[in-house]
């Protein structure tokens, strides 16, 4: 899973958001490291929608502009959880190897 995809799904994990909301949230989640732009965002949203990972939650007209809210589908949640778990495992291994002389210390028992 690409990082942009991961961040968009993460942004939607808390609840439905509209396009501009996702852009701002991705900035926050990534600590301003990733600047998501409209072209990239909508390319990703199309793909995620095709793959059934997200869906349209509702539409609103705010300030005379259309806002479409997206939400994670069950499959999207499952995929995000799986990916997050994978990243966590890899990160834990990396940190353990860097920080501790012997394996098993940083990760804690069990």
């Amino acid at each position: 899973m690409q990082e942009t995809t991961f961040l968009i799904l993460t942004a939607l994990a808390e609840g439905p958001q509209h396009g501009y909301g996702i852009i701002q949230d991705v900035g926050r989640i990534s600590d301003s490291r990733v600047t998501l732009r409209a072209g990239t965002l909508y390319g990703a949203l199309e793909r995620l929608d095709d793959d059934g990972l997200i869906g349209v939650d509702r539409e609103e007209i705010v300030d005379r502009r259309l806002r479409r809210y997206y939400r994670l589908t069950d499959e999207g949640s499952a995929r995000l959880a799986e990916e997050a778990g994978r990243l966590q495992t890899s990160a834990a291994i990396a940190l353990r190897r860097l920080g501790a002389p012997r394996p098993g210390l940083a990760g804690g028992a069990a």
Binding site: G19, R37, G43, E46, D51, R64
Partner: protein, 352 residues
């Protein structure tokens, strides 16, 4: 219909209006379908990201839209392989019928060149036998409307028309059956022309062009052409017409140059590859997606393969054979693999 044009413009001053106008122009890079579906929404996001008083799109945003729209066009219509294969299943028989029509409309004197018998076997769906034992074929010396009095040609055209009609009517099983019958009939016709020397040196070609025939069978087996009837556009029609014309023009050019004693055999190979490149590029340019482009190239490539075989046997050394066989072989293997995977996934239950 909430089309992009009907969207009300918020009265926010001249700067915003100017910026919005420029963004709208940029968004035209996207397909019309995408613009209608998401145009106003994307515009809203772009305007929300803009600074106060900004009149020109930020360079980064503009570049991102150019890139995003290009990638989306390469990706093609929504639905991935399922819709690409469904469209292919719908379009491929049309390609054959068009090729047949073009064949008949050609003046008879053009068709006096040798190779006509072979040529009407180059028409892809039912190619089973055409490359068997090149050079042993009895020349028919018939062309244009004369072809209509040739039973072999009529059987071939009839097969194509039935397949196309069945596909458009959504009768998948009938289409499959007609396809198989047409292939058997055509193979028999070819076997007869070659005096039943069916295990001649052309057998590998038969297997390969048979792979393209299988591609249509796979497409029909996996994807429902009825679904594609909603997706098919004028651009598909343009693509299929131009490709059929290109294949015919090219094969006549090949015949004409075969008449001249000093025609360079390499030319067939080069122009054949150019034809395949056109088949690959045209759907991409028209925004039909890389999947459809790959399938259309898979249709045209064997035509190149076929004429190359008929006219340039001396060139058929191992590297040439590899160059000719590899791409269609890869496409065939891959489509078979994809078909099996698709069947497995569908059994597991597809989303939404």
């Amino acid at each position: 219909m909430s089309a992009a044009g009907g969207f009300p413009t918020p009265p926010r001053g001249a700067a915003d209006a100017e910026l919005e106008r420029r963004y709208r122009r940029l968004l035209r890079l996207y397909s019309r379908e995408f613009q209608a579906r998401r145009g106003t929404e994307v515009l809203g996001v772009l305007m929300a990201s803009a600074r106060d008083g900004q009149t020109r799109p930020a360079l980064g945003d503009a570049a991102d839209i150019v890139r995003g729209s290009l990638l989306m066009r390469l990706r093609g219509p929504r639905g991935g392989w399922a819709s690409a294969l469904a469209l292919f299943a719908l379009i491929a028989p049309l390609f054959l019928v068009l090729t047949d029509i073009l064949q008949v409309t050609v003046p008879a004197e053009w068709a006096r060149a040798p190779g006509l018998a072979e040529r009407f076997h180059l028409q892809v769906t039912v190619p089973a036998g055409w490359a068997l034992a090149p050079g042993r074929v009895e020349r028919l010396h018939a062309g244009g409307t004369q072809l209509l009095s040739h039973p072999g040609f009529l059987v071939l055209v009839g097969g194509h028309v039935i397949v196309a009609a069945a596909v458009f009517a959504g009768l998948r099983r009938t289409a499959l059956a007609a396809l198989l019958v047409a292939a058997v009939v055509d193979f028999g016709h070819w076997a007869h022309l070659t005096s039943f020397n069916v295990l001649g040196p052309g057998l590998t070609v038969v297997l390969l062009t048979g792979a393209v025939f299988l591609l249509e069978v796979f497409a029909l087996a996996v994807a429902d052409p009825r679904a594609a009837r909603r997706l098919v556009t004028g651009r598909h029609a343009v693509t299929v017409l131009l490709l059929a014309a290109a294949v015919q023009a090219w094969s006549f050019a090949a015949d004409a140059s075969a008449e001249s004693p000093r025609s360079p055999a390499n030319a067939y190979l080069v122009t054949g590859f150019i034809l395949a490149a056109i088949a690959l590029a045209l759907p991409l340019v028209l925004g039909l997606g890389w999947r459809f482009s790959l399938l259309s190239a898979a249709v045209c490539y064997p035509c190149a393969l076929g004429v190359a075989f008929i006219y340039m046997p001396p060139l058929l050394i191992v590297p040439t054979k590899v160059a000719l066989y590899l791409p269609p072989l890869l496409v065939a293997c891959w489509s078979a693999a994809w078909t099996v995977r698709g069947a497995v996934t569908r059994r597991g239950g597809a989303p939404g």
